[in-house]
Symmetry: C2
């Protein structure tokens, strides 16, 4: 058996999420069906992160075992032919038998994008969270530094307890105000995005979106970095901010 690793980008708008579910189309089912159409094999994909409904991926990683002799290059074009254009196979590689997209991951990085503008923008409405009121990105960045290191993050976990432990290690945590996108720029949008990049050895359910809702309060000057530290210490989800919408969230990178 060969072990094939896929790197995927997708627009999560029209999917119930990565994982196969009974209530609608999943990215996993779409890719498994493409494999079936191309190879005739029924495979089961495992992925690095089970992105939720409406959550996007820039660099999701998945793998599957197969008997097919098709080369990686031909798998890439062949699978793409059987996929809608909202799922893109960015890379196909043959990996060691013991590679497992979920368990072999050393860390993952998520990105959250806020479009910080009074007026919404049609071209990015599914790909950012539009937030009208002014945000202090520097204050958000300072508060985001509180997340670095190993902590019990149960205050940011929905449906606690769903894991043996809610202790995770955050490796990167950065908030930046970034420039408008050059494609559609009319000058007036410059610097009107606020972007969070956060890497950790693992993430709890809805953790990034709860962090965004919490940092947002800091950006509005309602809370301080010290409040964020205190909230983490309480371990109480009701103390943290609201869960930010799915549409601004991307699984950006998985490191093995």
């Amino acid at each position: 058996m060969r072990n094939i690793r896929l790197t995927l980008s997708y627009d999560g708008t029209n999917y119930v999420g990565w994982q196969v579910q009974s209530n609608g189309p999943s990215v996993q089912a779409a890719v498994e069906q493409a494999v079936f159409k191309l190879t005739g094999e029924t495979v089961r994909l495992v992925a690095a992160g089970r992105t939720d409904s409406g959550v996007h991926a820039l660099g999701q990683v998945a793998n599957f075992a197969t008997e097919t002799a098709i080369t990686c290059e031909k798998l890439q074009t062949g699978l793409q032919n059987f996929l809608a254009d909202d799922v893109v196979i960015r890379e196909v590689a043959e990996v060691d038998a013991d590679f497992h997209a979920t368990y072999s991951a050393r860390w993952k990085r998520y990105r959250y994008v806020i479009f910080n503008n009074r007026v919404s923008e049609p071209f990015i409405r599914k790909y950012t969270w539009q937030y009208a009121a002014a945000l202090d990105a520097a204050a958000m960045h300072d508060a985001a530094q509180v997340l670095l290191g190993t902590h019990d993050f149960r205050c940011f976990e929905s449906h606690f307890p769903n894991k043996a432990t809610s202790v995770r290690t955050v490796l990167e945590s950065r908030v930046e105000r970034c420039d408008g996108w050059p494609l559609w720029s009319r000058g007036e949008n410059a610097g009107e995005f606020v972007r969070l990049d956060i890497a950790a050895d693992g993430f709890l359910y809805n953790m990034v979106r709860a962090i965004v809702g919490t940092l947002l309060k800091v950006g509005r000057h309602q809370w301080t970095a010290e409040d964020v530290r205190r909230i983490i210490d309480t371990g109480d989800r009701s103390q943290a901010g609201e869960t930010a919408p799915a549409c601004g969230l991307y699984l950006e990178h998985v490191e093995y």
Copy 2:
């Protein structure tokens, strides 16, 4: 009667174009319906450019006559409430009675965006034309300079003759390779967009898309700037390049 000018952005993907048509939803009908829901008045909008199906707008301008006493600020939020999120009212202003969005326009600028990458990108698939083969943007820019000034552009006009004259004056014509968009950037996309900005006192039917198809041949080193000059002189649509897809085109600005 008041004369109200609207500045609009829209994602043209789900519309048959600006103009009311029997075969599907138009942006014009959507805005006219919003005016009716807000004011109870049946109005008729005129616009600067009748964008085709799938063509987008960053700065479409339209106007209508109304008896309503609603302030411009309240018109903006009120109309937006009755519009889907793929049409955004960017500005509402009261203008002189003789302002006409079509006839008062001094010039318009269109933008065309090519995503010049081998692998497609799910988030921009409706908003750019993905073109895999390498393009020489500098050569395209040089050839685009041939368009400047007053010429008979019938070689770029579909369905000729549909106007009294196909002579137009091009005021700006610029091709640039521009950087990847910071929101989704993974480094690898940097500089992989090729963007045409072209301003003229008027445009013939499908003119910008025919120009893009022609400049593309220059970018592929199949034609030169001199060939473009020669093609303009022939006045023959069959000599020019193919019509580029609608999804990369934006009505960017209208000057009055």
